[in-house]
């Protein structure tokens, strides 16, 4: 009897996947907000706790199913995949632009461009140096791993364009994913230290961190008012990375390592 009830509930969750996701995520946020108030006295944002909780659940889900999509690989929670997928994520990011103060955004425009350039070059240098330190000598592998440090989309796009092998591609993607997760968790911790409390610095941050999911999560956990400014620059980051990765950056690396 108990098993039948359980199966019935599971059936509803599978059939109403997106609706179920709304309820589950809502419950997660409710619990996080209570925890933020009770245990941290409001010092930590409820959304920061919810995002970290989401990542922990993604880890548990990944171990449990062996899949790549965290909780969304569990059939009853497949709606999480739709709700947090690229389509609705981008839709909600665009909606936040409705709150943008145009004067603020325009004033920080040049800073955003500078941040975008640095945000592509700095991670690439770190990534390539790490690859060299770990014994990679060919320009293709070095560039692919370096590109992965830009974002987890730039890595495989670059690797595919210059013909990297699949182990290096996997390494490159893992680097980008790790960076995104670290940005989500790390941003609220260092926000005050790096002066991330106004639209200007948020635009610099978006361009430097790049990874849309990392920036989206990091700013949501830090301060919702900064979201549209960071997102505005971050959404250009991956495209620029995919543009320069297989071209300028690859040619530079090839010229250096021969």
């Amino acid at each position: 009897m108990g098993l039948e009830i359980w199966h019935g509930i599971e059936h509803v969750f599978v059939e109403q996947s997106l609706v179920a996701a709304f309820a589950v995520v809502g419950a997660l946020i409710l619990v996080s907000n209570l925890a933020a108030k009770r245990f941290t006295n409001g010092r930590v944002h409820g959304s920061a706790i919810a995002i970290v909780l989401g990542l922990v659940l993604a880890y548990v889900g990944g171990l449990y199913t062996g899949g790549k999509k965290g909780l969304a690989d569990i059939p009853a929670l497949a709606g999480i995949g739709l709700m947090g997928g690229a389509m609705l994520r981008d839709f909600a990011i665009v909606a936040t632009a409705f709150e943008v103060d145009v004067i603020e955004a325009r004033r920080a425009g040049l800073l955003g461009v500078l941040a975008l350039a640095l945000g592509t070059i700095l991670p690439f240098i770190v990534g390539t140096l790490t690859a060299v330190a770990f014994g990679y000598h060919d320009a293709v592998s070095i560039t692919t791993i370096g590109a992965g440090a830009i974002t987890y989309i730039v890595g495989p796009v670059t690797g595919a364009a210059i013909g990297a092998d699949s182990t290096v591609m996997a390494l490159s993607i893992a680097t980008g994913v790790t960076k995104a997760v670290m940005v989500m968790v790390g941003t609220p911790l260092v926000a005050r230290l790096i002066g991330l409390d106004n639209p200007r610095s948020a635009m610099a941050y978006g361009g430097l961190m790049g990874t849309v999911s990392g920036v989206a999560g990091g700013l949501a956990a830090t301060d919702p008012k900064l979201v549209p400014y960071g997102a505005l620059t971050a959404t250009f980051h991956t495209g620029i990375g995919c543009l320069v990765g297989p071209s300028i950056l690859f040619l530079t690396v090839r010229a250096l390592v021969g």
Partner: protein
């Protein structure tokens, strides 16, 4: 009408992503170049255009702001479907490359945010934050634009 706000948002997103695809194609990149960013700029332009003509109704505003308020829940759902297992079990090369670039970029944010003068955060920015944070009643909100609304 609320649906007009949602449709406006959808149209801006679709046009932006399409233009991003075109830009990628023109540059010979296998990726969308700034599609979402273009969509954001279109939506900002649409808001300015509508409010200047006095056609920014509460319904339209609510239709867009509802989705802005859904931003954090959607991001939480996004976090819950990351490949965290791969991130955690990536090994030293992954960890060093990711941590190194993160630390360097955080440092660069600190440097860049110190360039130029620091202004007090405008009231309109704070107001936007409360909507994206999903806190205030979006239908009742108005965008304050007067400089008197700025606080220190």
């Amino acid at each position: 009408m609320i649906v007009l706000g949602v449709a406006l948002l959808a149209a801006c997103t679709l046009i932006g992503v399409y233009l991003g695809d075109l830009l990628g194609l023109a540059l010979g990149v296998k990726a969308n170049v700034g599609g979402v960013g273009i969509a954001m700029i279109l939506l900002i332009a649409a808001r300015l255009w509508l409010s200047r003509r006095g056609k920014l109704s509460k319904g339209v505003q609510f239709g867009v702001e509802f989705w802005a308020g859904m931003y954090i829940p959607i991001v939480v759902a996004m976090a819950a479907q990351q490949n965290v297992v791969a991130a955690v079990s990536g090994g030293p090369i992954v960890l060093i490359a990711a941590t190194g670039s993160l630390v360097l970029c955080f440092g660069a944010v600190a440097l860049l945010s110190r360039i130029g003068h620091r202004d007090p955060v405008a009231a309109s920015v704070e107001h936007g934050g409360s909507i994206i944070g999903g806190e205030t009643d979006p239908a009742a909100s108005i965008h304050p634009v007067s400089p008197a609304g700025r606080k220190g």
